[in-house]
């Protein structure tokens, strides 16, 4: 085992380099390390492998997974990925580049981030987007911190109980250590309670609220009047949105929100067992200086040519250190490129059709499941787009297992014991009928 494809040094190279440095051996380069720290043992790692063996090993691991037809969502959605998106993403000039600090040789990255920001702005209707966050839940946690920063002396953030559990959990984690007081706005009839929010606002100290536009029951919430009520108390509204759904639904700007956050995974990113995805975050212009993360701006170069640069960097950790708006450094740039290319491919019409197909498919499944008599409606008058919940009249766990054995990932239990389903444009009527047939059997 003397050669390794990623280490180009020959023995001769090593000897010449050591000579130039003026030391005898590679170990001499560690003479400043206390001897008892130099690891003498053998690492508990497998033996080095050839590429062929590594491929075979992963094929064996892959075979331990079972392919399922996905009829659930809950924050990760099985949407269609156009072939050209991963193809272009694999270009090494994008894939193997660092953060675009050297703008003269990073115009490719800077331009697509500018396009990404523009697309997030047009989807949300808001003025300013950053270059991406890790994922939806961490973007929501940053929205919490941003609202506290904007409010200056207030330290309470309201969190709707209708948010996805992972969003609530991550926000709760950040709040615990940052020292923000969280208060939960309860759900009434599948929707964030306006009256409860009002009562919480009356208690004072509220910097803002995080509320979903489409909630964990799949319901498109009726948020008219929410922003106005928050603004009356000097509080901000951060909407947690599904960016795919923003192709058709009322925008955060139309709902008078101040901040929009969410997870970009629904824009065709493979589920990939939960990551990588991309968080998005946009806000109104007046809060731009409090927005965390990188931002790309347009300018000109010394010769007057249009050029793009990282800008407003004085907000960031590498300059502002502990006073930065956030600690975020690496984000999910390549996944922002994914979203940008996806949205270029789909365009306004494609995104609309995706939503229409989800809507038709999910309503068909909803009606067919009700017809089986194994479920009853929970929120019969509430609108939904692609995801919905039903109350099971049979043992949910047993049903879920039967579906799983038949190759379906469906009927995901919610904390209330409802069964959650999701239908994307990838699901055919045949697949839906096959799922319903399994439900009927039981």
């Amino acid at each position: 085992m003397s050669t390794f494809p990623y280490f180009p040094h020959t023995e001769e190279d090593i000897r010449q380099m050591l000579d130039r440095i003026g030391v005898k051996s590679l170990d001499d380069l560690y003479a400043d390390v206390p001897a008892d720290f130099l690891y003498k043992g053998e690492y508990d790692l497998p033996d080095a492998k050839s590429e062929h063996e590594v491929r075979a090993l992963f094929e064996a691991l892959a075979a331990k997974n079972t392919k399922q037809t996905v009829f659930a969502g809950a924050g990760s959605y099985d949407h269609y990925t156009p072939a050209i998106v991963p193809y272009l993403l694999s270009r090494s000039e994008f894939l193997t580049a660092y953060t675009p600090y050297q703008c003269e040789i990073s115009q490719g990255t800077l331009r697509y981030i500018f396009e990404y920001q523009s697309m997030i702005c047009t989807l949300t209707g808001l003025d300013v987007s950053n270059a991406s966050m890790y994922d939806g839940p961490t973007a929501a946690a940053e929205a919490m911190r941003m609202m506290v920063a904007c409010a200056k002396k207030k330290n309470t953030v309201l969190v709707s109980a209708s948010l996805l559990p992972q969003v609530k959990d991550v926000v709760r984690t950040y709040a615990k250590y940052y020292g923000t007081t969280l208060k939960e706005i309860p759900v009434v009839d599948g929707q964030t309670s306006f009256l409860s929010m009002k009562e919480l606002l009356e208690q004072g100290d509220v910097a803002g609220a995080i509320i979903p536009s489409v909630n964990r029951f799949g319901i498109v919430e009726n948020l008219s009047g929410f922003a106005a009520e928050l603004h009356l108390s000097g509080a901000l509204l951060a909407l947690y949105c599904d960016p795919s759904a923003l192709g058709v639904l009322k925008t955060p700007a139309e709902l008078d929100a101040d901040i929009a956050v969410g997870d970009g995974q629904s824009l065709g990113i493979p589920m990939s067992f939960g990551g990588p995805s991309v968080g998005f975050m946009a806000c109104r212009k007046e809060h731009m200086r409090k927005l965390p993360g990188r931002i790309v701006g347009q300018t000109v170069d010394a010769d007057g040519k249009r050029a793009f640069v990282l800008t407003l960097q004085a907000r960031e950790q590498h300059i502002r250190r502990e006073k930065a708006t956030s600690n975020i450094c690496s984000n999910e740039s390549l996944m922002a490129l994914f979203v940008t290319i996806y949205l270029s491919v789909m365009g306004p019409q494609g995104l609309r059709e995706v939503n229409e197909k989800c809507y038709s498919g999910s309503h068909y499944l909803y009606n067919e499941l009700l017809k089986t008599g194994k479920f009853e409606a929970v929120f019969p008058d509430k609108p939904f787009l692609k995801e919905f919940v039903l109350k099971p009249l049979v043992d949910l766990d047993a049903l879920r297992r039967r579906l799983q054995e038949a190759g379906f990932f469906a009927a995901l239990p919610t904390e209330e014991g409802y069964a959650s389903f999701c239908v994307t444009e990838k699901r055919s009527k045949e697949e839906i009928d096959a799922l319903v047939a399994i439900v009927k059997e039981g």
């Binding site: 200086r289 004085a314 300059i319 502002r320 006073k323």
Partner: protein, 125 residues
């Protein structure tokens, strides 16, 4: 060689103070603006905010740096220079004309701890 205006008081963190009765007009010195280079943004407090001597009330930003502004006196902000919101370069153009905030002082004795122009000249280099 930076310009030091006579008749003003200075802090060691390079803010200047012009006393107008009970009100302190506060800006940054020519030395400070020269150190920062092209100022791109001035982060300022809101009118009505309280400031405390020695604590930061805002910051100057340039493309690759940020510098906190420290209040030379304690009191209530009665006015902020809103012209700086859209034209931070005014500080680069004339640091003594481009005041940043006006503070109604709660303790004018704090002025005694500030430097006069001659004493400031010794540290502004």
């Amino acid at each position: 060689m930076s310009k030091i205006e006579k008749g003003l008081l200075y802090s060691e963190s390079h803010e200047w103070v012009k006393v107008e009765g009970n009100v302190a007009v506060i800006g940054v010195s020519d030395f400070a603006q020269a150190e920062m280079g092209d100022i791109t943004y001035v982060d300022m407090p809101d009118e009505g905010d309280e400031v405390t001597k020695g604590e930061d009330f805002g910051a100057l930003e340039s493309v690759k740096a940020s510098s906190e502004l420290y209040s030379p006196v304690s009191g209530k902000v009665v006015e902020v220079n809103s012209e700086l919101e859209d034209a931070p370069e005014l500080i680069n153009e004339d640091a003594y004309a481009a005041w940043i905030i006006k503070v109604e002082m709660s303790d004018t004795a704090e002025l005694d701890e500030l430097l006069d122009a001659a004493a400031y000249e010794a540290i502004a280099k």
